[in-house]
Amino acid sequence: MSRPHRLLAEVALLRHLPGIRTLASLLIALAILATVSGLSRLSTYAQTIEPLQTAEQETRSALRDSMRRFESSESATMATPLAAKPGALGFTVLNEYVVIKRPPLAPLAAGVSDLLPNYYRFDAHAAFLQRRAGTIDNPLRLAAGSFDLAFVLVFLVPILVIALSYDVMSREKELGVLALVGAQGVSIRRFIAAKLLIRGLMIVTAIIGVNVIAMAVIGTFSEAPMLISAASWTLVAVFYGLLWFGLAALTNAAGFNSATNGVILANLWLLLVIVLPAVINMIATNVYPAPSRVDLTTELREASTEAEERAAEAREQYFFDHPDLAAGDVDQEIFYRDVARGEDDIAQSIEPWLRRFEEQAQRQGEVVAWMKYFSPALLADQSFATLAGTDRNYHAQFKVAAFNYHTDWRKFFVSRLENDIGMTGDGWSQLPAFNWSPPHAGKQARRVLVPAAVLGIMAVLLLCMALIKFRRYSPV
């Protein structure tokens, strides 16, 4: 018999696979729901930041207007407006919102975007005083995790793959059909290979299908550079799905009955998807524990007290040198200059502590980066987050760029304070602006190349092992 005919016969059989339509409909519904949920998550973030940015723009417009009136006024009696005072502006009035830019695939994987800041609100205070800003997320959602396409692919698709393939051969044997097949003069090994091929193709088609649907919903295909990300994403999803299919095939090849296969695969799911990632995370945090926050706070408090004492001494010296100013109100701008100097001292004192936090976090990341190869689920999940621009690395790059920018922003005001230069209309137009170029889609895709290849190799190895084991598969 020609091989295409045999394959077509298998395809015809698939139409009668119990529950196949239900599973396909469920998968499509889950994919659409997850994508809509991802879009809604990003929309919530945008809705949080937009009013803040609008309010800030309105404040700045009003200040610029007052500056313009002040500069055009010929009246010598007009008081210097707030808009001309760099200390007050930088340290109190102005807020600079620095918002992360994300690739179009962002709705498909929350990654750590719900845990790390999506934007920073900067002022001219030192970097250690810049508190993280962000959307207040529903704590239940934070605890349970986001429902997005990555969740569907990493957690739910393996269950669907198991449901479709846990009895791919054992059922044939239990029904007694395999014996009848074996008597037809067809090689059992080829029959099994054909069956696995068709079942595998069906799984691949389903995974590609849901990804295409999800990407169509978010409109990825309208942006040509993102096609490479979309293709990489789909490749990771397909290899991950095939890996689970390989596990199911290998379990079948071991010759257990269908119920045993189901139990083995359910336990494998629990181990690889739930237990191993948790264990890896636990190892990373225990091998490189974060330094004590209590110690950091104590150090910060001591450094602040010392800085305040130094500032008070400097102020005393200043009034001793300028006794005429001592009776009147203290110039606010002098106050801000002292604040800036004090913060520099504090920053210097706590810098080693902060560096230790950063280093430990980096080491934890490095442990997870190589240990993820022990868990296909973690490997796939991190690859999806990388392509969606929601992984730790993407956030770290944003954070570095944001804080470099903060240095410029602070310097803009502090240098004016130190040199006693007031803000002018020109000064306003020279306010720094945040220009961050996020990592290119191609670069992000290259970062998932190795994980994708590992998933693919594991899938192929499992399927090959299954086929080798099936050579000794008895039809009775």
Partner: protein, 233 residues
Amino acid sequence: MLEANQLVKHYGSHEALRGVSLKVEPGEIYCLLGANGAGKTTTINLFLNFITATSGNAVVNGIDVAKDPLGSKRRLAYIPEQVMLYGLLSGLENLRYFSTLGGRDLSDDDARELLLQAGLAANAAHKEVRAYSKGMRQKVGVAIALAKRATALLLDEPTSGLDPKASNEFSELLVQLRDGGAAILMTSHDLFRAKESGSRIGIMREGVLLNELVSSDVSHGDLERIYLEHMSG
């Protein structure tokens, strides 16, 4: 033609077959009788190459099944005790599927004709097999054998559990196949059916073929007596 030459099969220390030799010529029905565990099904499985003989060989139409397992099955049909088909497919779809596996693509008309020849009612051909009785599934099994134009048939207790009418219909089908020149090896517990439709009868016990009889030479009573003597002896 079916031929077993000194077939021995060991499962660890258990000897399932101990040097069984038999020959089934074209146009002959050979009935293997024996209690459970006598080695009847093991003999069938060796002819199908589902298991490997410890020693000896099984030959189908002149082909050693261990040396050319696929070639030996080209004109071989097998009907097990329970013809297990795909329950969600109709009898017609099952026939077409298994025929495709066997190397022959059947049209719907051809398949319908074969099912009719096998005795399946025309209105049953399109029903899902899960609604079939055992007898109806056996008929689909016969249709698969007919589609394959099998010259050798292996039947493993095919009439077990069939009601007398269905059992009789099945025996008539076997006789038709025999008259068409097929060599048929059938295992059974049914002495009456073996005597009625078998050309020769072999009695097995504990992996040994104890006796071979020509069915026309013995009466029903003689067969029962000889069988019981062997079983109790």
